[in-house]
């Protein structure tokens, strides 16, 4: 048990710190600090250009994908060293936002399932920021029930023809590649008829429509496919094996999202200090309960890293990160706005308290409780996969996919 650096780690940290001091785009620091929750906001420069520039710089120095094998553009560092790197990169890591889905989810899936040649081609381009990836999983009728997707892929010679629709695709407009799950056989049970591909997002027949979100951003998109063609070589795993491939992605998603969820707690303490209520016994109880959850999350993520260091796989216990952080951020935002009084109603840039960060949290946190596994799905995962309780009773389990009851079949 040692929350301090070993001498080797201290040396690594010094190296990381020195490189960042020399190379990071300091001019963006203040703006990055305010760039809030869920999305990279930059006003002074183009966000994609800034992101690509930083990613490329890191790539050239071996910091872009530190945990990846060297042959795919990584540096092969240890989990602990990676934590140190992240701590040192700090606010600049927000610059890599456009690559986070690629690095966190698509990359590991490609690494596990693509051919060697494909990996040597695709992964360094991803790590260097040349390519942006997105994840084409959710559909309007298949949210928590991911295996209920309907986007169709039909084999025509050496190609597959795709028709259907995806939704909630972060960053689709910036993406070069998409990781796409499709249904190739609707006559077998739902988990058995799926197939995974990677798709050139510039292919004919791909249409992207931004979703205007309740928080007045548009990070998410709908993606429509009309007779889109994908070479069979871009299939990941065998036909029908798509669910297994997707589990690789989801396991990495959990790890990637869970690690360092923002909670709003440090910002709340800052607000209390500004308002002079840090010593107010009336707020102590709420603050303490929030702080305990935030520190608990932090050290739980640390424990996972120690488990990784011992060679263990990231497990379902990582589901607690997002489960706790989503509700916590929502409660923190409401409490902060209670403390702000009527001023909490103001969103006006330049006038809103602390740049409007708690208003932004209020309006962003509902998505955290849904995206990448809703609170309800995560509790099910913990109950079933950590505690060993039985799965929910499944009325759709052994039915052919095209005979599963739907709102339409129920006449709703």
């Amino acid at each position: 048990m040692n929350f301090d650096d070993t001498p080797e780690e201290a040396a690594f940290r010094a190296r990381a710190r020195a490189w960042i001091a020399e190379n990071a785009p300091r001019a963006l620091e203040a703006e990055l600090k305010l760039s809030g929750f869920g999305h990279l906001h930059l006003h002074s420069v183009d966000r994609i250009a800034a992101a690509k520039a930083w990613q490329r710089k890191k790539f050239d120095a071996g910091w872009a994908a530190p945990r990846w094998p060297k042959e795919y553009g990584g540096a092969g560092v240890s989990p602990m060293e990676y934590v140190i790197w992240q701590e040192e990169e700090g606010v600049y890591s927000k610059l890599s936002g456009p690559f986070s889905i690629g690095m966190g989810m698509c990359g590991p899936t490609v690494m596990a399932w693509a051919s060697e040649e494909q990996k040597r081609h695709l992964l360094p381009r991803l790590a260097s920021g040349e390519d942006i990836w997105c994840q084409l999983f959710s559909e309007p009728v298949a949210g928590s029930d991911l295996a209920g997707i309907r986007t169709k892929a039909e084999k025509r010679g050496d190609e597959w023809v795709i028709n259907g629709q995806k939704i909630w695709t972060s960053g689709a407009r910036d993406a070069d590649w998409g990781l796409l799950i499709t249904r190739t056989d609707p006559t077998v049970a739902k988990h058995r008829g799926l197939t995974m591909f990677f798709l050139d997002m510039k292919s004919p027949g791909v249409e992207i429509r931004p979703i205007w979100q309740m928080n007045e951003e548009s990070v998410f998109n709908e993606v429509y496919f009309t007779d889109v063609r994908i070479p069979d070589a871009q299939r990941l795993g065998a036909p029908g094996q798509g669910w297994t491939v997707a589990l690789t992605t989801l396991m990495n998603e959990r790890m990637s999202i869970g690690g360092s969820m923002p909670t709003g707690v440090p910002e709340l303490f800052e607000l209390c200090r500004e308002l002079g209520v840090l010593d107010d016994p009336a707020v102590a109880s709420r603050l303490a309960q929030f702080a305990m959850r935030a520190s608990g999350l932090r050290y739980s993520a640390f424990r996972s890293i120690s488990a990784l260091s011992r060679g263990e796989q990231p497990g379902p216990e990582n589901s607690i990160g997002k489960l706790v952080a989503g509700t916590l951020m929502q409660e923190v935002a409401q409490f902060a706005l209670d403390l702000e009084g009527e001023a909490g109603l103001i969103e006006e840039p330049g006038l809103a308290v602390d740049g409007g960060r708690f208003q932004a949290m209020l309006l962003r946190s509902p998505a955290t409780r849904i995206e990448g596994g809703s609170d309800e799905v995560l509790r099910n995962i913990i109950a079933e996969r950590v505690l060993g309780l039985p799965a929910d009773i499944r009325v759709d389990k052994d039915l052919p996919f095209n005979q599963i009851p739907t709102a339409a079949s129920a006449g709703r």
Binding site: M214, G344, L345, L363, P366, D375, R412
Partner: protein, 368 residues
């Protein structure tokens, strides 16, 4: 004893509901959000013509004189449809304050105009960040002239007149200010709930008139807020009920894993908890309505209980309505966020939960 509204009152509520459903579909709310207008003037005119908002203003002051119970039900229905109206400012607060604090002449001057909707009034209290207390008020009146900045002022753009909390010679006073007069500048502020618009108002030597005794301003404000808290609680339970209804309907129609999501206990129990919080709020609000209508000595306790419960219920119901809707609930297109935003707005006006929790405990302590 009778712990519920009467059949006549329910019939009136049905009428009000049918009116609002016809006159205020959600497209009306969205139209106001998308526009630069300060409020929905056409709807305000219609509501005023119906006399709904004048329910509690005496007939000899241009009101309908029906009573507070009727006004509570109007508020509930306005809350249900997210009505983009300045009633919280002009009726629940300003008219109440004038009825409590105004001279006979002031009542005669203002109440008929507020009752008819011809004039819109608001209250301007907040200046700094944090709970407003007398010490944080810097707006100042001397020689009948008001100077200072109020921010945010709800419905500050829609209002013709504001009751401004300001320092004066004898302490905190309330001052009526014509917002079209010289020395007043106002501008819109982007706000969490864009269907109830906020403004900044700058006063620079604006002519003003004292309302109530000078030095008594804070006590009068506080007494008015006890009354407004009950009315706002009805807006909140109307909104919370609408959010719960939306969630229930969606849970019945949305299928996952081959069954309606409303058949999963996780969803069922979440909705049950929303219902419970709403019922607690509703019952507290009913008691508040009686205390308001009868000017009972229990009003401070009843109002604080109603407000604390209603804030809690609307927050919970509006947040978990989004949760029930999943990703669709996070879109601008779905109406879930309108309730989530409104719940925050109604939690912030009149002072936030911590203030009312203290008021509740103090009133409970005095009552026992």
């Amino acid at each position: 004893m009778q712990f519920d509204f009467s059949e006549e009152q329910r019939a009136l509520q049905g009428e009000v509901r049918r009116f609002f459903e016809r006159a205020c579909p959600v497209s009306t709310v969205r139209a106001l959000i998308a526009s630069d207008a300060s409020h929905d003037a056409e709807l305000w005119k219609q509501v005023s013509e119906q006399g709904f908002l004048a329910a509690a203003i005496p007939e000899d002051m241009g009101g309908v004189g029906a009573g507070y119970l009727e006004l509570c039900l109007v508020a509930e229905e306005a809350g249900r449809v997210l009505a983009p109206l300045p009633a919280v400012s002009s009726i629940y607060q300003a008219a109440e304050l004038i009825m409590i604090a105004g001279s006979h002449a002031q009542k005669q001057e203002w109440l008929p105009r507020l009752a008819s909707g011809a004039t819109i009034a608001t209250i301007a209290v907040a200046e700094a960040v944090g709970e407003a207390v007398p010490e944080t008020i810097t707006a100042r009146v001397s020689d009948g002239r008001l100077s200072g900045i109020k921010r945010p002022v709800s419905d500050g753009l829609a209002a013709d007149v504001a009751i401004v909390v300001a320092q004066a010679l004898d302490g905190i006073g309330l001052f009526l200010v014509d917002l079209s007069a010289p020395g007043v500048e106002r501008r819109p502020l982007k706000a969490v709930d864009p269907s109830r618009k906020q403004a900044e108002i700058r006063f620079d030597g604006a002519r003003c008139e004292l309302l109530g005794a000078c030095g008594e301003g804070w006590a009068l404000l506080s007494a008015m807020r006890d009354r407004a808290a009950v009315l706002v609680a009805f807006e909140q339970i109307g909104g919370a009920q609408a959010a719960l209804d939306m969630a229930r309907d969606y849970a019945l129609g949305r299928y996952a894993f081959g069954r309606p999501i409303g058949s999963f206990q996780a969803i069922k129990h979440m909705l049950a908890d929303m219902y419970v919080s709403l019922e607690l709020a509703r019952s507290n609000a009913y008691y508040g309505a009686w205390a308001l209508a009868t000017n009972a000595p229990q009003l401070p306790l009843a109002a604080a209980s109603a407000r604390v419960a209603a804030i809690q219920a609307y927050k919970l119901c509006s947040a978990n309505n989004i949760q029930t809707h999943g990703g669709m609930g996070f879109t601008w297109e779905f109406d879930c966020h309108l309730h989530y935003r409104r719940a925050r707005y109604l939690a912030s006006v009149l002072g936030t939960s911590p203030l009312w929790e203290r008021k509740l405990v103090a009133a409970y302590g005095r009552a026992a």
